[in-house]
């Protein structure tokens, strides 16, 4: 009995080794892309959009990256920071991916970045905006195809100061993205001669805004700047309008305030001005082509997340091209990405020393179900990458 087991064991081992051998041979021909994104939970739609965008570029590129077939390894990160390290390690150690693409939630992305740094795996962040990723925690291996929290808010601060607005009250959730957004806004706005008369925060994800609206009405600032996203943003905008404040005290914020939730606001968002690195109604040919293709392929309207996924693939392609298509030549890939000019649907951008996009920020206005581009408020805005030593 025992020997039968042993025999079976040996046989299985031999087969496994043979299979691994075949696998290794295949791996040399293919580029392994690890997509670690939310496919369930609150951010599921964002994870799907990023994946769609990434795959759209690969399709346009003949189904290849760097001239090689692409093999995808997908993990649902559930936007759960507690599972982030384990999930990222699975992709890096078990699946041996050449590049880690992810994710939406900043807490998860920070944990992934640590794994990427420790294992020297190339990583591209297609959304998470935490300043740290291309700030104190920057690394040669970590790139971002999206934005830093600082960028759209800084541009808004500049724009409002330029308009001659003097006194602004701010409201946000008390978590890092909200506080980084307000800090970016404050920096530019005070530099331009403005003053923050009231800085209010509430714990995430509390959405009982009425006390703050009362405070705003009593303080009567010239304008209000807020960071909210998703359902909380829809509620804030609707409550702000219902309290009658919309007509007397204009409301501004980074584009997350109105992106993807205009339907839920039911018209309360009409006319709002927000800043972001993407908008509806852009005029470059690249954007038109991207949107048409996306809409016909996925039967969905593309959004900023799809663009960021698309550009993550473009950035990696640029790196691979510089390395002659060899995913093993990491140093050359990194150099290639650093010097690339990415022809993005949002408008062409390059990467900063800290690997964050140096990009135009648009002022957009809500018209119906669209965030229509009004003007470029900040041309080639570069995140200051504070604390990055690289």
């Amino acid at each position: 009995m025992k020997s039968t087991f042993k025999l079976a064991g040996n046989l299985a081992l031999t087969l496994a080794l043979a299979a691994a051998g075949i696998g290794a041979a295949n791996a040399a021909d293919k580029v392994k892309v690890g997509l670690m994104l939310p496919y369930t939970g609150t951010y599921a739609a964002l994870g799907t959009a990023i994946t769609n965008g990434f795959k759209q570029f690969v399709d346009e590129n003949g189904g290849k990256l760097g001239g090689r077939e692409v093999e995808y390894f997908t993990v649902d990160d559930e936007s759960n920071p507690a599972k982030a390290t384990e999930n990222a390690k699975k992709l890096v150690s078990r699946d041996k991916v050449d590049v880690l693409v992810g994710t939406v939630h900043s807490g998860v992305a920070l944990a992934m970045a640590k794994v990427a740094r420790d294992t020297k795996t190339l990583m591209i962040v297609p959304n998470a905006g935490a300043n740290e990723l291309t700030g104190p925690l920057c690394s040669p291996y970590i790139f971002r195809s999206s934005f830093s929290a600082w960028q759209p808010s800084y541009a808004m601060g500049e724009a409002l100061a330029k308009k001659g607005i003097k006194n602004v009250a701010t409201v946000t959730w008390k978590y890092s993205f909200g506080e980084e957004s307000v800090a970016g806004f404050k920096e530019a706005f005070e530099k331009g001669g403005g003053k923050l008369v009231k800085e209010m925060t509430l714990p995430f994800p509390n959405v009982e805004f009425q006390p703050f609206l009362t405070e705003i009405a009593a303080a009567k600032p010239d304008a209000v700047f807020v960071f909210f996203a998703g359902a909380g943003a829809a509620k804030f905008v609707a409550d702000y309008a219902a309290a009658g404040l919309k007509n007397s005290i204009p409301l501004y914020g980074p584009g997350f305030l109105t992106d993807g939730n205009l339907g839920a606001m039911g018209g309360a968002g009409e006319g709002l001005l927000t800043t972001l690195h993407y908008a509806d109604g852009l005029t470059h040919a690249k954007d038109a082509a991207f949107r048409t293709k996306y809409a016909t392929t996925y039967k969905l309207q593309p959004d900023v997340y799809a663009v960021q996924g698309y550009d993550a693939a473009q950035m990696y392609e640029a790196g691979l091209k510089a390395a002659g298509g060899d995913p093993e030549k990491q140093e050359e890939i990194i150099k290639g990405m650093e010097s690339a000019k990415i022809d993005s649907p949002r408008g062409a951008f390059t990467l900063s020393k800290a690997h964050n996009p140096v990009q135009d920020i648009y002022m957009r206005q809500v018209k119906g179900d669209q965030n229509v581009m009004l003007e470029v408020v900040s041309k080639g805005l570069e995140d200051p990458a504070r604390g990055c030593k690289m």
Binding site: P203, A218, A264
Partner: protein, 288 residues
């Protein structure tokens, strides 16, 4: 804070507290009177909000959605009690926690499959879509005041039902001594079914009424679950009046906490809970 702001913040507190009462009232029935730890209470709130969204889209009217939604929620509650909860009364609390936690996952996944993961809005009925000017820049939405009025009516109705009707007497008796009530020939299973269905319907009603002002989104139930438990515990388990008083306390603590001690606004409510429980370990009002 000037006097006008103080008055408006007081109004905000009352209005928020009453809304919290509406959410927590169903829980105080099911948890307090039936002794079931119902973690899925937030899911019933979520289901109510999505019912409001789906039915309002179909019928074009929130009022009609509520009228259709309440019997649906009652039937759903009665079905769940019959199919699942009725098997748990004699079991351990841990098993109730497992079942109701499982239900949260199932309901969220079903919601995702049936309606998707987008954020939705529900329109306020036209006859309530107005506001009252309070100061030169601030006005108050009539819909919020209407919700407050509904909450007060419900609080009185619940009190009357439990304290003054025959059904209420049987419910209270069943809570005190199930065996004796059965021995007296009262169909206690039927009574529990009614109470549970009522609890589900109250949570769903809260979701339906809150939908236009809170918007409708994934995991919205988990936001109200914890605060509901806080209210039930502060108020005294099983006491409808207690829940009302506790909800108002929480409303005031949250509103004025945000304004006066913004750095601590996340914990003010829990500090209040700790203080109340030190003072009265069984909650402000005990059963009754």
């Amino acid at each position: 804070m000037d006097f006008a702001s103080f008055l408006i913040q007081t109004l905000n507190s009352l209005q928020y507290g009453l809304l919290l009462f509406l959410v927590a009232s169903g829980l105080t029935l099911v948890f307090g009177i039936m002794g079931i730890i119902n973690l899925a209470h937030g899911s019933f709130y979520m289901i109510g909000a999505y019912l409001a969204f789906v039915l309002t889209s179909a019928t074009g009217s929130l009022v009609l959605a509520v009228v259709l939604g309440i019997p649906l929620a009652l039937a759903f509650g009665a079905f769940l009690e019959w199919a699942l909860f009725s098997h748990l009364y004699k079991r351990d609390h841990l098993e109730q926690v497992l079942l109701t936690y499982g239900l949260i996952l199932i309901f969220e996944q079903l919601r995702s499959l049936l309606v998707g993961d987008d954020v939705h809005g529900v329109a306020i009925p036209a006859f309530l879509d107005a506001s009252i000017q309070l100061t030169e820049v601030m006005s108050y939405p009539v819909y919020r005041l209407a919700i407050s009025a509904i909450c007060i009516v419900l609080a009185v109705a619940l009190y009357y039902l439990i304290q003054r009707t025959r059904l209420g007497m049987m419910i209270r008796a069943g809570n005190d001594d199930r065996g004796m009530v059965e021995a007296l020939g009262i169909n206690i299973n039927m009574i529990y079914r009614v109470v549970f269905a009522l609890g589900v319907a109250l949570a769903a009603l809260a979701g339906m009424l809150a939908a236009p002002i809170s918007s409708v989104f994934p995991n919205m139930g988990s936001h109200v679950l914890i605060i509901s438990f806080v209210i039930v515990v502060i108020g005294g388990i099983g006491s409808v009046w207690g829940a009302l008083v506790a909800a108002l306390i929480v409303g005031f603590a949250d509103t004025f906490g945000k304004v006066l001690v913004p750095e601590l606004s996340g914990i003010v409510v829990y500090v209040v809970m700790a203080v109340v429980l030190l003072w009265r370990p069984e909650g402000i009002l005990k059963k009754g």
